[in-house]
């Protein structure tokens, strides 16, 4: 219970700077997603109180956007670009290779919480596709080997 209280007060601290901002709910959701890794039920309650919304209204907003997750995601998030320029550079094959290598479908997280694979439509790296974003880094002319190597380097 004590742990729960600490959690609630840290959520309050994350949300607080955004409550006076015009349209502060989006930046608050981003901050929680970044700090906590997902938007928990506790976070939804706290957001509802802070912004004077119902919990349903907070849910209404957060479920619209791909970036907000109600489940914890993996430690490393792999986003495979599936937009047109990457398609022309065989991104569909790369998607197949990566999902089968990790044994995950798109939008799934591995059992050990290490990896989440997602699709994304355009990373703006269209000149050197196919592109894969791992956390905040974009890999151009990506291949399965490049992705694996990058993850190994991240581990170190």
């Amino acid at each position: 219970m004590k742990c729960g209280l600490i959690l609630m007060s840290s959520l309050k601290a994350i949300i607080e700077p955004f409550t006076q901002l015009e349209g502060g709910l989006m930046p608050a959701l981003h901050a929680i997603q970044e700090e906590e890794g997902y938007i928990s039920n506790d976070a939804i309650s706290e957001l509802a109180i802070a912004f004077n919304y119902s919990k349903a209204e907070v849910l209404d907003v957060l479920t619209y956007y791909d970036d907000f997750s109600q489940e914890p995601l993996g430690k490393n998030i792999i986003r495979i670009c599936r937009a047109e320029a990457c398609q022309s550079q065989k991104s569909e094959e790369l998607t197949q290779e990566l999902t089968s290598h990790f044994g995950l479908d798109l939008h799934q997280t591995s059992g050990d919480s290490e990896i989440t694979i997602k699709e994304v439509f355009c990373l703006g790296n269209c000149a050197l596709g196919p592109s894969v974003m791992i956390n905040d880094s974009v890999l151009g002319e990506a291949s399965k080997d490049k992705v694996i190597k990058f993850l190994e380097k991240t581990e170190k």
């Binding site: 981003h30 209404d60 907003v61 619209y64 956007y65 994304v120 355009c122 790296n125 000149a127 974009v138």
Partner: protein
């Protein structure tokens, strides 16, 4: 050792995606590196050469592509210089790809550290704002009208008229919202401005805000661009420190501030009314127009909405380039357009040029041939709501008028090349799939129609000549086009029409 040796290593998403950051780490740990000045510059936009490293000594600046180069054997800076010289370095400004462009808006990218305010000012930066603050608002708007500039985000609406409408509103509070939700597949021009010349956007926003009387600006940046976020955050704070943003800008009675807001992975939020919903903290549902955002926009106040490149075009227009710009092209297609040449093409990158160029010339002059070495089969122009051209349509001009006449659009200037391994029925299906994933859900033809579209194309892939399914697909496309509130549902049929018309027998056989 030459003490005034400078090494330029780009810090830009595409350059970093193929190793610029790794090279920077290695080079900065070389022995004697303290005798050299390392500059993280922007990219010149000749992306196929990245990571392109330049060395400047004795006033001469030359560079070479380090693509796939392993420099782990280098111990000292001299070792690196031997490696560099072995690559026969050249001045990138001398290559045809750069020389044949007309860079007015992208004139500074690659030059140096994008956050170096002095460099920005030495190269024409902030002259326009200084001039503008001495002019009355209407005369700035008149100049922009005179220039013929139209919105570079996709809709090509005359920028001057938009400014005028916001200016004409009688309201003590007005907003400016910069649409930096560059979501079309095959586009990166906004990103390149934000990462490689961010003050150009900030200056453009400040001038536009002054012209219409807005005191607060938002930049709605897509979350897929973390490096742009980093650059903009820093550039905004540098501008504030230097009295170029905030209260009493350049000691004049003009206050303007910029708030950076981050999107959350929704394509439709690049549609201006959905973007406003998102900034206000709601689902990105499209609003019906009227009222126009210029009259009743963000938080119910008059709001000027423009995309990044459009706003970044304003400073050069007020700084001596107006005549040069407005003398290029005719009709609606005035000035330069930053085309983004990408996909399966060997010389990929940013090409700022006139609209009046055929797709064939564009490829011949700038892109050359496919990366795969196979023949070109299809060219997508204008993003997911644009159209596909076939390889026998190389004389098609890239003007707004020419593409409109074949039910396409220049859009945001993306050009994606496909070789002959592409399956056009898959591209048609993707158009529907993309719409089904990104639809905001407000209009039924877009939300449900796109799913029915996928199913029909699935069946056509089994039997191309099913008259029933061909009829259904055409009906569906017409319905989506006629009854969707915004371009998402309304223009998703465009790529499909183009595949039916220009690739006979590949999706349908009649």
């Amino acid at each position: 050792m030459n003490t005034d040796l400078k090494i330029y290593i780009p810090n830009e998403t595409t350059s970093n995606s193929v190793g610029a950051n790794d090279l920077y780490q290695k080079i900065s740990s070389l022995k004697d590196i303290d005798k050299v000045k390392i500059i993280r510059n922007g990219s010149w936009g000749a992306f196929w050469l990245e990571p392109f490293i330049e060395v400047e000594k004795d006033g001469q600046r030359i560079g070479a592509s380090f693509k796939g180069t392993d420099i782990s054997h280098c111990i000292t800076i001299d070792d690196f210089m031997i490696e560099f010289e072995n690559k026969s370095p050249f001045d990138i400004r001398d290559i045809e790809f750069i020389k044949k462009q007309k860079r007015i808006v992208f004139s500074r990218i690659g030059l140096g550290d994008p956050l170096d305010l002095s460099l920005y000012q030495e190269n024409g930066g902030y002259h326009s704002l200084r001039n503008a603050l001495n002019l009355d608002q209407q005369s700035i708007i008149n100049k922009i009208k005179e220039s013929g500039l139209t919105g570079r985000g996709g809709a090509a609406f005359p920028t001057g008229i938009k400014l005028q409408t916001v200016y004409d509103q009688d309201s003590s509070i007005k907003y400016l919202a910069c649409n930096a939700d560059e979501g079309d597949g095959g586009t990166f021009s906004d990103r390149l401005i934000m990462e490689s010349d961010p003050f150009a956007l900030i200056e453009g926003m400040t001038i536009a805000a002054y012209a219409v009387g807005a005191s607060k600006g938002f930049i709605y940046l897509r979350s897929e661009y973390p490096l742009a976020k980093d650059y903009l955050t820093k550039a905004i704070s540098i501008a504030k420190e230097n009295n170029l943003l905030g209260n009493g800008i350049l000691s004049k009675e003009f206050d303007f501030d910029i708030d950076l807001r981050i999107g959350a992975g929704s394509y439709v939020c690049g549609e201006e009314t959905a973007m406003m919903e998102s900034i206000e903290g709601r689902r990105g549902l499209v609003r019906s127009k009227p009222p126009l955002p210029a009259i009743n926009g963000l938080f119910d106040k008059p709001t000027l909405i423009n995309n990044v490149v459009t706003l970044a075009t304003i400073p050069p227009l007020l700084n001596g380039s107006l005549t040069e710009f407005s003398n290029i092209g005719s009709g609606k297609s005035i000035g330069t357009m930053p085309f983004q040449l990408c996909g399966n093409i060997s010389q990929s990158g940013l090409v700022e040029t006139e609209f009046d160029i055929s797709i064939g010339e564009m490829i011949e002059t700038f892109g050359k041939k496919t990366k795969s070495g196979r023949p070109i089969h299809a060219i997508q122009i204008g993003g997911p709501l644009g159209l596909y051209l076939s390889s026998n349509m190389m004389s098609t001009k890239l003007t707004i008028e020419s593409l409109q006449s074949i039910k396409g659009s220049v859009g945001h200037g993306g050009i994606v090349i496909f070789d002959d391994t592409v399956d056009m029925s898959e591209q048609a299906k993707f158009a529907m799939e993309f719409c089904s994933k990104e639809s905001c859900g407000k209009c039924t033809p877009c939300r449900i129609g796109s799913i029915r579209g996928i199913e029909i194309i699935d069946r056509l892939q089994e039997n191309k000549s099913s008259t029933k399914d061909i009829g259904l697909l055409k009906d569906l496309c017409e319905t989506m086009e006629a009854t969707s509130l915004c371009a998402m549902g309304g223009m998703t049929p465009n790529p499909i029409y183009s595949i039916i018309n220009h690739f006979p027998g590949e999706l349908t056989e009649e």
